[in-house]
Amino acid sequence: MPQTLAIVGAGPAGGSAAAALRREGFEGRVILIGAEPHPPYERPPLSKEYLRGETSFEQALLQPSGFYRENGIEAWFGVRATRVDAARREVELENGERLAYDGLLIATGARNRRPAIPGLGLGGVHQLRTVADCDRIRQEIAPGRRAVVVGMGFIGSEVAASLRQSGVEVTVVDRNEVPLRRALGREVGRVIEELHRDHGAELILEDAVAAFEGRERVERVTTRGGRRIGCDFVVVGLGAEPVTDLLAETGAKIQNGIVVDEHCRTSVEGVYAAGDVANHYHPTFGRHIRTEHWQNALRQGSVAARSMLGKKSAPYEEIPWFWSDQYGHNLQYAGLHTEWDELVVRGSMRERDFLAFYRKDGRVLAAVAIGRGRELRRSIPLIKARERVEAAKLRDPDVDLRALAGAAGSRR
């Protein structure tokens, strides 16, 4: 039985793993190390309700603040780990101290991409990942102020919506022809585009930022297309990359994150990875995938904990799922698609009340819904079954998706 289990990264994946270790009855030392000075918290509110000042930080905490002490989890918050010596089974900390471990979980998450745009370091040019980032943006928010949001992925889209809802004048710049183009495709992206326009955001699409300009603080954004946009502040959301530095010297396989199997085991004995940083083997899809979602972080954290204890458990094969709330509309996505040959729509895209299936060779790879969460959830078994489903049935609002999934399942 291992004696010291260390977790580097005190976000949802690390926090969930720490809790799971105790829940599974582990009685040795559990050390949870996080660079931020806070206990684990959930990030979805940071671009939405917390950013708008509607909820408190306490409401975003993964566990009540007394949880770690009560469960004998050593909380090393505000402590940065710098490298892992896998041969000696030690983690080195920023202050030079070394911590010996019997088992180690890497849950360091992702960091925002910082493309080399001139003026990125000016005051008032923000990014969003931590609650500290969010608090800085909150201080900028006031009705009538002007913001530029760069990048219309999920973070950019949600921030743009929250700023509009807070009375900020918003201009967005995105290189694609519609928001969320890469994640959801042109047709669904068009719905999001219209949603933002209807709420008064100005969209500059198929263009990119050339520079942020100003003396000390940003005063304007210039684009490659020749636009000059006066502004009071900027939020940049141009994607994220996994934080794998810690394992650089260990020989662990790193490719689009830390490569792990379906039980969160890395290629190095005694080292595990979970959450945004983990590129995990997914049995349903038959390949490695890396997801940056709340649910994935939480559930994978628990799976990693069981593996660390040497307990046999089912492979991690949750279908990726997430939500995005914008202007009071609830969008949800489940599955995994990179390409598709048909988008089958149930409901009305124009009325922002639909469920759309990304279909390839007759199989449902993924589904996205606005305002139809119940049906979206019912399509998850269909996605998991990976069997052919008639488009007409997907489209027909009178066909219960649960029955379809049952039919697909029974043919196996």
């Binding site: 959930e42 409401q59 649910q295 939500w323 709330d325 609830n330 949800q332 969460g373 119940r374 959830r377």
Partner: protein, 102 residues
């Protein structure tokens, strides 16, 4: 003072179903599980989505917006993101109608 108030006819909610009713300005969800009616506040404690618009799986109601799960019998959170339980109300059948203590 809490008292029993009529909500719906006993036939209005079928087995395995969940429906919302407005009772004295409170939106109340009623679920029927194993022949028993369970009533609780319809607003999810996370971000106030209507739980009656979610799925009912045995005694578990699933928020349609963010996937929080509650036990309809106790209001207890089974799965987040919600943290707080939903308020539940005592039910009784009175002359073919369903009443809840509000």
């Amino acid at each position: 003072m809490a008292e029993f108030v009529p909500v719906a006819g006993a036939e209005d909610v079928g087995e395995g179903e969940i429906r919302a009713f407005e009772v004295r300005k409170t939106k109340v969800a009623v679920a029927k599980v194993g022949g028993t009616f369970y009533a609780f506040n319809d607003a999810c404690t996370h971000l106030q989505c209507s739980l009656a618009e979610g799925d009912l799986e045995e005694a578990t109601v699933i928020c349609p917006c963010h996937g929080s799960e509650f036990d309809v019998r106790s209001g207890e959170v089974l799965r987040g993101p919600a943290r707080e339980p939903v308020e539940t109300y005592e039910t009784r059948l009175e002359g073919g109608g369903l009443e809840i203590k509000l």
